[in-house]
């Protein structure tokens, strides 16, 4: 079913403004449960953001300390969020580089999610930076700290966001009815995809490389010279698990936009995603086991942190992996979804370990970092805001629904 798109070429700026104003009106019910919960949080978050900019990062805004300089804004919003956005580069690889048309129906939603994730999590970085007014410094050359992993990560973030924008831009052009521009943008897609995968490899692993110099501060069960590799591999199945999770929700919420055929093929897609996850997780699991054996950390297993490690590795990597395998074999969509959720939990725990759980694990409980309510609210506000933007775009642009006729003909 076609939603509203520009039925005629927008020829003038005035037409454009009329179109935009009409698009700005809300579509669908206003007082859904989700809206009722998320709207106040977004509003509160906005106020708290202003408060944070005025007050600084100290208590009561955050619980960051000299011992724990990074909290959930870096640990969850940036590190976990970016891992979850990894579905974009994996799926664009499969669809555009390998040419597997099977996943085409979900590719635009995934790319959109990736793009929005990076935009909003760049915002989270902006909030977390103590001297945020200087945040353009690494971009403009004041100065280029090329020796720093974070410099690399920052630039790759920026370039990747642009690449995702280019990959998604055909949908915007379709929405605005810009035929010629759409053609140009579509030709850029493969280049943007290749660029994006290259950038993703480096910044996904780069997020891991950030903590390489905190050698003795990270518990030996987690610290290894292969952290970047582990981060990269885990981003594959983290991103895909997020695609599965978010896809499940989107399919229900936006089901009227999706046509019959695509509803049917969705099962195939899900199983296919499950397969990729399972393979990646088997690889990741064995890499982790190798690292463990190589490090000879047997005696550390029988400690509280050892149990935590086993929970993460066995309970939230191996077990979901096996469930994925079983789900794929039996084409059991529920198994696949359950596995995806367990995997996501595992990724969250894994990233948070590197930031403030296994990081300085030896600090007693009373001096450890726990997020303040303000940090949590702002985090939630960012996530909800992203969902709102996603919903706004999906309801207007051809993301889950069919592209307009003229676009499909090309």
């Amino acid at each position: 079913m076609n939603g509203k798109t520009a039925t005629e070429e927008i020829n003038s700026f005035k037409d454009f403004m009329i179109f935009i104003r009409s698009e700005l009106k809300p579509k669908g019910r206003i007082f859904t449960i989700f809206n009722v919960i998320s709207a106040p949080i977004i509003l509160l978050g906005a106020i708290l953001i202003v408060y944070r900019l005025a007050k600084g990062l100290g208590w009561p805004v955050t619980n960051l300390s000299q011992d724990f300089p990074w909290g959930i804004w870096i640990g969850f919003d940036v590190m976990t969020g970016v891992a979850f956005a990894g579905g974009a580069y994996v799926l664009t690889f499969v669809v555009y580089v390998l040419g597997a048309k099977k996943y085409h129906p979900i590719i635009r939603a995934t790319v959109l999610n990736g793009f929005l994730a990076y935009v909003f999590y760049t915002g989270a970085i902006f909030l977390d930076c103590g001297r945020w007014w200087n945040i353009v410094n690494p971009m403009i050359g004041n100065e280029f700290g090329v020796n720093s992993v974070l410099f690399l990560v920052a630039w790759h973030f920026l370039l990747y966001t642009l690449a995702e924008l280019v990959e998604f831009s055909p949908a915007i052009a379709e929405w605005l009815g810009w035929k010629k521009i759409r053609k140009i943008l579509a030709s850029l897609t493969l280049g943007a995809v290749i660029f994006g995968i290259t950038l993703s490899t480096l910044h996904q692993s780069g997020l891991g490389a950030l903590v390489m110099m905190a050698k003795w501060k990270i518990h030996p069960l987690w610290y290894t010279e292969f952290i970047p590799v582990l981060f990269f591999i885990s981003s594959i199945f983290a991103g895909l698990s997020m695609v599965i999770f978010e896809g499940t929700i989107s399919h229900r919420v936006f089901s009227q936009q999706i046509d019959e055929e695509h509803h049917r093929t969705y099962d195939d897609i899900l199983v296919g995603l499950g397969k990729i996850c399972a393979v990646a997780m088997v690889g990741y699991f064995f890499l982790k086991v190798l690292v463990f054996i190589h490090g000879k950390h047997w005696s550390l297993i029988n400690t509280p942190m050892g149990y935590w490690y086993l929970l993460e590795l066995i309970g939230l990597v191996l077990i979901p992996c096996l469930i994925f395998v079983q789900g794929v074999k039996d084409r059991n969509l529920l198994s696949i979804r359950v596995a995806a959720i367990l995997t996501m939990a595992g990724i969250i725990i894994n990233r948070l370990n590197y930031v403030f759980i296994a990081y300085k694990w030896y600090i007693p409980m009373s001096e450890r970092y726990f997020p303040t309510w303000i940090e949590i609210v702002i985090t939630l506000a960012i996530v909800f805001a992203e969902i709102w933007v996603f919903r706004w775009i999906v309801n207007r642009m051809p993301v889950l629904k069919e592209s307009p006729e003229w676009a499909r003909e090309e």
């Binding site: 000299q66 580089v97 930076c129 103590g130 992993v149 490389a209 950030l210 110099m213 050698k215």
Partner: protein
């Protein structure tokens, strides 16, 4: 010598004594045997330190930080860390050789982790060895995560926060003065000089008093060498130093990754393009 010369000389002599501040005689660039630049450093001999904390006071004075209360010993009951308003602290340790006082501050590593971590080069390693912070910092705090000694401290409670740590009195150094702590120490537990000379002096103290020192200069090779080097009468682990830092300079833990970047940046696009082209031909 004519009258003018004579007066000049006397004047300088009196002026020098009257000055009170101790001037580093004309060397703001130490020369090594090859005529190149050498690092400066500070030798901390913990067998001399009497725990008077004049160094803490002098540091606070020199950098407009809140003055510490050093009038009594009660501060020694708990171990203190440096903070954003206290760039150096003296801690007391009970050991088999009695009470030992140890001054702790940024070690001004030869290859600092914080300098490698900083994406805007706000943390700079000067050629004279000082590691200093600059205001183009974005406040990302990666330097805090990376430092093996946990020295950079962040002003969380300020909306215009700075990273604070000892800067070996870079500003005083430009004026030819000694670091404030070195100048204030009444027993010369702190000695400033070319790092190579200080290592020689440290080793000769060990050699001449083998029973008074542990035969190791901490900071000689730890994390690739630091500008603050320490002597001790007891094993360093007993006076608050980590023994497991290794001799690898910390930036080398990221070079493995950084060196992979050009390879990925060149090879990935080629491989991906190749795969795509190879597969496409088949489908057509």
């Amino acid at each position: 010598m004519d009258r003018r010369e004579f007066l000049k000389t006397i004047g300088i002599g009196i002026g020098g004594v009257a000055c009170g501040d101790i001037l580093i005689p004309s060397i703001v660039n130490a020369q090594n045997a090859f005529g190149g630049n050498e690092f400066f450093g500070v030798l901390v001999d913990t067998t001399r330190c009497i725990g008077c904390m004049r160094c803490e006071m002098a540091c606070a004075e020199a950098h407009n930080l809140p003055l510490p209360d050093i009038s009594n010993d009660s501060v020694f009951e708990k171990k203190r860390n440096t903070t954003e308003t206290r760039w150096t602290v003296v801690n007391r340790y009970e050991t088999e050789k009695g009470k030992i006082f140890v001054k702790q501050q940024c070690m001004h590593c030869n290859q600092p982790a914080c300098v490698a971590a900083c994406l805007v080069k706000a943390m700079k390693k000067r050629k004279e060895a000082h590691v200093t912070w600059d205001t183009n910092c974005i406040g990302c705090r990666l330097c805090m995560v990376s430092c093996p000694f946990d020295m950079p401290k962040f002003e969380y409670n300020s909306p215009l926060p700075k990273i604070q740590k000892c800067n070996l009195c870079w500003d005083r150094f430009q004026e030819g003065k000694l670091p404030a702590c070195v100048e204030a120490c009444p027993v010369e537990a702190l000695k400033f000089g070319a790092r190579r000379d200080l290592l020689d002096e440290a080793n000769s103290r060990i050699f001449q008093n083998p029973h008074n020192y542990v035969h190791h200069v901490y900071g000689g090779h730890e994390v690739g060498g630091t500008s603050y080097i320490y002597l001790s009468a007891v094993p360093f682990e007993q006076i608050g130093f980590r023994g497991d830092l290794g001799t690898t300079p910390y930036p080398e833990f990221t070079t493995g990754f950084l060196h992979a970047v050009p390879f990925v940046d060149v090879l990935w696009p080629l491989i991906l393009l190749g795969i795509n082209r190879a597969i496409r031909r088949e489908e057509d």
